[in-house]
Amino acid sequence: MHDRVLLTGARAPAPFAASFLTRPDRFPDEPAGSPCGDLAADLLLPAGPYRVRGLDAAQLGRIARRFGGFCVPGDAPGAAHRFLPLGDGDRRVADDVAVEIGGHDRGGAPSRTAPPAGRPAPVRPCDPEPPVALDVLAAPPRSFRRSVTPGWHYSFDLDAGPERVRLAGWGFCALLERRAGGRWRAGLWVAPGDRRGFLGSFVNLLRVLAAYRLLDAGGALLHSAAVADRGAGTLFVGRSGAGKSTVARQALARGLGVLSDELAALTPAPGGAAVSALPFAGDLEPARRPAPPLPLARVLLLAQARRDALVPVSAAQAVAAAAACAPWINADRHRTGALLDNLGRLLGAVPAARLEFTRDGGFWPLLAASGGTISSERSGAAGALTEAEAAA
């Protein structure tokens, strides 16, 4: 009476942050921290912008280089708004922060504590408050354990509660707090001298923030390749190793647009769903500038096989596969129901099929013949271009 799909959620080992922080039991009360600098930038991600504050010049430079056109420094001409410098009078936790640590996913007892006196935070409300505000704080280097695998910055623990999410990895820890209206406020603690590790920590946090923010915007972050053709998007959903980058490369070779070969944003749109590029990528270069969302025309569930075939699936099967490919949220018991609600609304009316495919690309004519938006010939009329595509 049922089919099974394995989840791809992060499952943190217990106890939280023991591998990464010298005092994991004290986080987020400790470490203390102060803004790394007084620079800021907006990241123009879907359901954003994400306002990043407390940056020093080196950090801002690395972010600007990494995120290209997605990044709008605060003092750049044409910025949509001014960023306020951080003032000493605001370097304390806001009084309205709900400091409840609840719903520990690994058996920890919920507890309540007062806002930690003296914990600095660069709080100065901007007008308007962005959907996501992220403060970068310098923490004492002794707060972090040394990495046993130098250069590896992509492993981290995640502990999700009803209103707060904690992260910790090599050289960083972070706290995400959900505010009214699905807005998120986050703090990222880093060692000030860790120039090389900063960007990896920042990108790790940004991926998680994107997953949570998109959920609250009625959407989802999905492991998927997103291909554009004739003004519409097709999602190729699959876990790691499913063939997303293979599909993306072949799409580029066929003159199609590629929004993503790893993570794509699924969002509500008039009459259905839309798909957007994010500056995160797998084997290809990440998108370098934001583009308007494309209406979602079709969802394809990747399944490597010895023959090429397109097998229609039900909406429930599409939702199940998408849920299995929604990182972090599908492992968050406080939000899995909302994830299923979002996916049901967004994918319920979109044609879906299982794409059984060989890696030689023989499936593309199948897609064209099935009445989708994928052209049978090189179109050269991609709906959204990435720099990777332009380079190709």
Binding site: D3, R4, A320, A321, A323, A331, R333, L340, G344, G348
Partner: protein, 103 residues
């Protein structure tokens, strides 16, 4: 309890703590976070889980299946018991404490 023979008609079950499910059309999607895995239930299975989650005991689930799917009551009751056993074996449901069922 892993076999249908162990299931009595008055037994009540509830989704396990790590389970979330939603109806999507006629089917249901079930997320089991401890496994971790996602299940898709067919319309009958979806209805059985929905009724059990709503607090209906197994005998009532069988009766409702018989009415809604137009099958013989005995066959519906047997299907309900068998699928409840399957759901419990799969880690989706567990016996509800008597305090929840009023027994």
């Amino acid at each position: 309890m892993t076999g249908s023979a162990a299931f009595g008609g008055g037994d009540a079950y509830r989704p396990r703590r790590d389970v979330r499910f939603r109806r999507i059309g006629e089917e249901a999607v079930v997320v089991r976070q401890e496994a971790p895995e996602v299940l898709v239930l067919n319309p009958v299975g979806a209805r059985v889980l929905e009724l059990l989650a709503g607090g209906e005991p197994l005998d009532a689930v069988g009766a409702k299946l018989a009415a809604e799917f137009e099958v013989a009551p005995a066959a519906a009751a047997a299907d309900a018991r068998a699928f409840a056993a399957e759901l419990e074996s799969a880690g989706v449901i567990e016996p509800a404490p008597e305090a929840e069922t009023g027994r």
